[in-house]
Every structure is written in C-alpha cells, then in structure tokens.
C-alpha cells in the first residue's frame, strides 16, 4: 500500500467504488468508445485532481478559498497563450507550464501571507475579491487573452485526432492522438493525485489537521500556523494550475467560461462536499458522480421543464429550465453542508467502523 501512502479507503464499499472508478477511467477509451464519453472521462480526471487539491485547503487545512478557479485559470491560460502565440510544439507546453506554475505560486504566497496572518475569514473574503478581479482582467485584456471569446489553439501533432500511433486497432478502437491525449491527462492526474495523498499523510499533513482541529493548540505546540496554511495554499494553487494546463491541452481551448467562471468554483465546492471533505478519495467520487449527473441530468431538467410548460403549470417551467441548474445545485449544496457534512466517504467509513 506504499503507493496510497498508507491511507487505505478503510471501507469495503468505498474500495469497490474507487476501484470501479479507477478501472473505468483507466480503460475509458476502450470501454466507452465515442467522443462524448471520452470527454466526460477526461473531465472527471481533471476535476478529480482539481477537487482533491481544493480538499487540501477546505478539508485538511480548514480554510475556504474562492480563488481556486483563478489558479486553474492561470494554468489554462499559461498553456493556451504559449501555444496560441508561438505555435504548437511540446516546448511551448513546457514553456506555458513554466510560466504558469511560478505565477500561481507567487500569487498564492502573496494572498496567503497577506490575509492568513489575521484571521481565516479574511482569507475567504480576500480570495473572493482577488479572484473576481482576475476574472475581470482576463475578460478585459482581450489583446492578450482573447476576452470573452477566449483562445482556441492547436496542440502538438502527436495529440491531434488525425495522428495514428500505428495502423490497425486494439479492441476495435483506433489509437489516435485523442486517445494519447486522454492517457496523458489520465496519467498526469493520477500521479499528481498520489502526490497529494502523499502530502496529506506526511507529517506536514498531520500538522495541517492539527491546525484545522485546534489552531490555538497547534500554535502552542510550536507550529507556525501562518506558514503551514500558506504553504498548503501554495501547494493547492500549484496543483490547480497543473490541472488547468491539462484542461487546456484536452480542450484545445481556454476561455473565461471553461476556466475562470464562478460556476466552476461552485462545481468544485459541491464536488468536495458531496464526496467528503478531508478525505482525498471523496474528491474522486464527488467529481465522478457530479460530472456524470451534470452531463445527463441537465437534459432531464429540460424535459421536465418543457413537460410542465405544456401542462400549463405556472412557475414550474421557469424553475426547471436548464439555465436554472445552479438553483438546484445551490440547494443541494446547502443541504449537503447542513445534513451530510462528512460526504459519501465519511458515511461509508462510519458504516465500516460500526459493522
């Protein structure tokens, strides 16, 4: 169990679920051929990583950041702008990442040192303010970022759908650049996720938990709260930026809607709460469940809305209109914070220890 850093799922049902998600994602191109399922699978990988890095802040350190999409966006824009301006090559991907990661780290360090030394609640307000200013900047500086339209760009030839690894097929699936891109995303996300698992189970992670449970006591034991919280913020920002870079490579596009919008922040919050805060594995389950639901439930909402409209009910069509997706998400979010705070993973582990 070295690879899991000794942090086993500790519940049979949870182990089975995680194994199922892992296998489904690992063999997604062969199990679910077609471009839409592959998109869903890649999105699950990227968001599982993004949500896990957010869990490091919310679940392990106990601080609420609203700037996580900003770091996600920095990674996305870094890669996107490098590829867009200097042409599709691997060097440019590396260059984009090399610009984006330090930028994210410096920004996270500045925000942390600045707002975490007073009170944790300051941090939430400051991150919200900085993130919204960043989103405005990204949409206003259109000479650089493409404004609201964002930037579409070419990826290196090896990752394009036209590229074939070799002629012929494996299990009836052609190994084209799309499949290669998917495995790039999958492997990178897996490695970074295991790294996060390593971090939270290290002595550093234990100190974070101690700070979350009782800051006063942790400080009395000699741990500098500001330093630990800020460091956690920087690590989370770096991983979020990496997830953003992967997202850009996968989508061949970066814009405010796909990387910076507040609704993505809300998505992250819902996933981490539903999966279970402070568990890491919760991020994987939360992301998988949520993205599946998002892709298939929104269509259901649309049909409920139009059915209600044809039945002549007042108000109901408006409430179930697919544009009101955030309404139901918000309600679900409030209810799960209130009544289901430990999430799926917490519940499963609770059942396992009782039995």
């Amino acid at each position: 169990m070295m690879i899991l850093s000794g942090d086993k799922p500790r519940s049979l049902v949870l182990s089975v679920l995680l194994a199922a998600v892992f296998l489904a994602l690992a063999f997604a191109p062969f199990l679910f051929p077609g471009s839409k399922p592959l998109n869903v699978a890649a999105k699950i990988c990227i968001f599982a990583l993004l949500v896990a890095s957010y869990d490091l802040l919310l679940g392990y350190t106990g601080i609420v950041s609203f700037a996580h999409t900003m770091f996600f966006g920095i990674g996305s824009y870094g890669v996107a702008l490098a590829l867009f301006n200097y042409g599709p090559s691997w060097t440019m991907i590396v260059l984009g990442v090399l610009i984006a990661l330090p930028l994210a780290a410096v920004l996270a360090l500045a925000i942390g040192l600045f707002s975490l030394r007073v009170q944790a609640i300051f941090f939430s307000m400051v991150t919200l303010a900085v993130a919204s200013a960043f989103a405005v900047l990204a949409s206003q500086l259109s000479w650089l970022t493409g404004g609201e339209d964002g930037r579409s760009f070419q990826v290196p030839p090896a990752l394009r759908p036209g590229n074939r690894l070799f002629e012929g097929e494996i299990f009836g699936v052609a190994l084209n650049g799309r499949v290669v891109s998917y495995y790039l995303v999958f492997v990178a996300c897996l490695v970074l996720f295991l790294l996060l698992l390593r971090i939270v189970n290290s002595p550093f992670g234990r100190v974070l938990l101690a700070i979350r449970e009782n800051p006063f006591r942790a400080e009395a034991l000699g741990y500098r709260i500001v330093v630990h919280r800020t460091l956690a913020n920087v690590i989370a920002a770096l991983i979020a930026a990496a997830a953003g870079a992967l997202n850009a490579i996968w989508l061949h596009y970066t814009g405010p809607e796909t990387s910076l919008s507040f609704s993505i922040m809300l998505d992250i919050l819902v996933m981490v709460v539903i999966g279970g805060m402070g568990t890491m594995y919760g991020a994987v389950l939360g992301a998988a469940l949520y993205i599946l639901a998002q892709n298939y439930l929104q269509a259901l909402m649309g049909s409920v809305s139009s059915a209600a409209a044809s039945a002549g009910l007042p108000l109901v069509p408006g409430l179930f209109h697919p544009d009101r997706w955030l309404l139901w998400l918000g309600i679900l979010f409030i209810l799960s914070v209130r009544f289901f705070p430990t999430g799926i993973v917490g519940r499963l582990r609770q059942r396992a220890t009782k039995a």
Partner: protein, 336 residues
C-alpha cells in the same frame, strides 16, 4: 493593585482622526492630476454618491459580523431583492415618476423604498432562521452555507423575474444636473449623498445615544459579558440582522436607480465590493465602513478617469495598501 478612584472619569479612548482625513487627502491629491477643477468636482461628487450607496449596503454586514461573528456571504441577495422591489413598485407609479415636480418624484420613491426595505427585512428573518442559525459558530460551514444562499437567492430571482435586464428609469424630476460655476453635478447623486449622510448620522446616533446602541456596541466588544449581564443577545442580533438587510434593500433601490437597470447579478458583483469596503474599514466598525466606502468609490472614480485599465483592480490595490499600513483595517474593533 492600585485603588480604584470611582470619582475619576473613565479613561477616554484617544480619538483616531488619521483615517477620517484619508478621503480628504486623497481628493486633494487627485486634483493636480485631473487638472480641471470642474471635472474634479464632478468626479468627487460621483465618488461620494457611489460611496454612500455602498456604505448603506455594507453597514449591516459589518455590524452583523462585529456583533455575532457571522459573516454573511449572502448579504448581497438583499440588495438584489431591494432592486427588484423598486422595479415592481415604480412600474405602476409611472404617472408620478414622469411628472416634473420634485415632490412627485420623491413621493414615488418613498413607497418603493418602504417596500424594498420591508421585504428585505422580512426575507432576512427566513434567511437567518434557515441558513445562519443551524451553523451558528462554525465559520467554515457558515461561509459555505451563506454562499450557497446567495446563489439560490440569485437563481430564484432569475426564475421569478426572468434572466433579462429590467430597465428602471430615474424619475424625471431627479434627472439632469445642477451647475455650480462650471461644474455639473447630477441631481440624483446629490440626493444619494444626502441619503447616505442621513443613514450614517442615524446609525451613529443610535449606536452612541440609545440603550440599544449601547448594547450593540458592548456586544461587539464582548458578547459573553453582555449575555452574562442578562441581555438576550440573540434577539438583538436578529434585530440588527433585519435592520442591516433592510439597509441593503435600500442600497439596492439606490443602486438600481443609479444604474437605471435591475439585474440579479448585482448581488455577486457588489458582494465583492462590500467585502473590500468592510475589510478596509475594519470588520465590525460602522465608521470604518463609512470611510472605507468613500475611499473605495473615490479611488474607483479617479482611477476610471485617469487610468481606465487600472480601475479594474484599483479597489484591490487600495485594500492592499491600507492593510499593509493597518493589518486589521482602519478601525479595528473586535478582538477576535
């Protein structure tokens, strides 16, 4: 231990005037850069009026935090509610709003303001009961739940009133400007400044001259002690929460008339601005909130004129500068 001389006056807190001088200094410093004094007057009045509106919205937020350590991320929802109520009430009063006489314009606004404040206050009871009380004392959940409340409220407004912008024309009598020398000052901005000053004066009078105000100030300083003396701070809190939400509703009416449009997205947009203002002012301080609001608005207006691109981040920069100088805001109140 020294003997306590009961006859001696209580030690007075040294008055801190430096923050109060900041807006004046800022305005004077901006004058040479802007050059023409008439533009400067227009910009300054615009900044002051915007600052007063933000103050009206944010004052409740800062008091609620000071009193009960509750930071309501959903406060902005009441602004949006106020704005929609203004649109609802003013639509049938078109006869009054389109008349030229000043009194009829103001008479049309009065019911709009009353309805907006009443509805905001009434909804705030439900909000407090359903969202804030169950997670009382748990910061993390409080932030998450109230943020969820903001999203749900915003989406419900879209579902009820539609996602489109609603136009809300200013009453005819309040349009146009008054000319002082060669500087034109819009009438409505002048009205906003007056309303803001009245709100500020009223709040300060209530806080410093009444028993309720005494209890609120005592509660901000030390909640347990006020409870130990036998006062039900929970009720006081609900009262302050309602009043704060009503003020947010009023701010929403003023903001909607200033922009001449109503849209639920103001809730999120202004939440950010309000946070910056109350951080600058010092969480819990009404005076700090007042000065912070004016500073933010003045900087936004000057920057918008001098370096338009900078205006996008001017409020964040201002916050950084102020916090580097005073890490707990201009007037730090709570010991928390």
């Amino acid at each position: 231990m020294t003997a306590i001389d009961s006859g001696a006056a209580l030690p007075k807190r040294r008055a801190d005037f430096i923050p109060a001088l900041l807006p004046v200094a800022l305005a004077l410093a901006a004058l040479p850069f802007i050059g023409s004094s008439s533009t400067w007057i227009t910009l300054t009045v615009a900044g002051l009026s915007m600052g007063m509106m933000i103050f009206a919205m944010a004052s409740g937020l800062t008091l609620v935090f000071g009193l009960m350590d509750v930071l309501n991320f959903g406060h902005g929802a009441f602004i949006a509610v106020g704005a929609y109520m203004a649109a609802l009430v003013l639509a049938p009063l078109a006869g009054w709003t389109q008349a030229d006489a000043l009194w009829s314009g103001l008479a049309a606004l009065l019911p709009a303001v009353i309805v907006a404040m009443g509805v905001s206050a009434a909804l705030s009871i439900a909000f407090e009961r359903a969202l804030i009380r169950p997670v009382y004392g748990q910061h993390l959940k409080q932030i998450l739940v109230t943020m969820g409340g903001l999203i749900v409220a915003e989406q419900l407004l879209y579902a009820l009133f539609g996602p489109q912008l609603i136009a809300l024309p200013l009453p005819t009598a309040l349009r146009g400007s008054i000319v002082f020398g060669d500087a034109a000052v819009e009438k409505y901005r002048l009205l906003a400044v007056i309303v803001g000053l009245v709100i500020f004066a009223t709040l300060i009078l209530i806080l410093t001259r009444t028993k309720i105000g005494l209890l609120i100030r005592a509660g901000v300083e030390n909640r347990e002690m006020v409870e130990a003396l036998g006062y039900r701070i929970q009720r006081l809190f609900i009262g302050v929460f309602m009043a704060g939400s009503a003020l947010a509703g009023l701010g929403g009416v003023m903001w909607a008339l200033y922009r001449e449009q109503v849209h639920a997205s103001v809730a999120q947009e202004l939440t950010v601005l309000m946070f910056i203002v109350i951080i600058i002012g010092g969480l819990g301080s009404v005076t700090g909130c007042f000065i912070g609001a004016i500073l933010v608005a003045l900087v936004a207006n000057y920057a918008g004129f001098l370096v338009p691109k900078l205006a996008l981040v001017s409020d964040i920069l201002l916050m950084v500068v102020i916090l580097l100088w005073r890490p707990r805001g201009l007037f730090p109140v709570t010991s928390r």
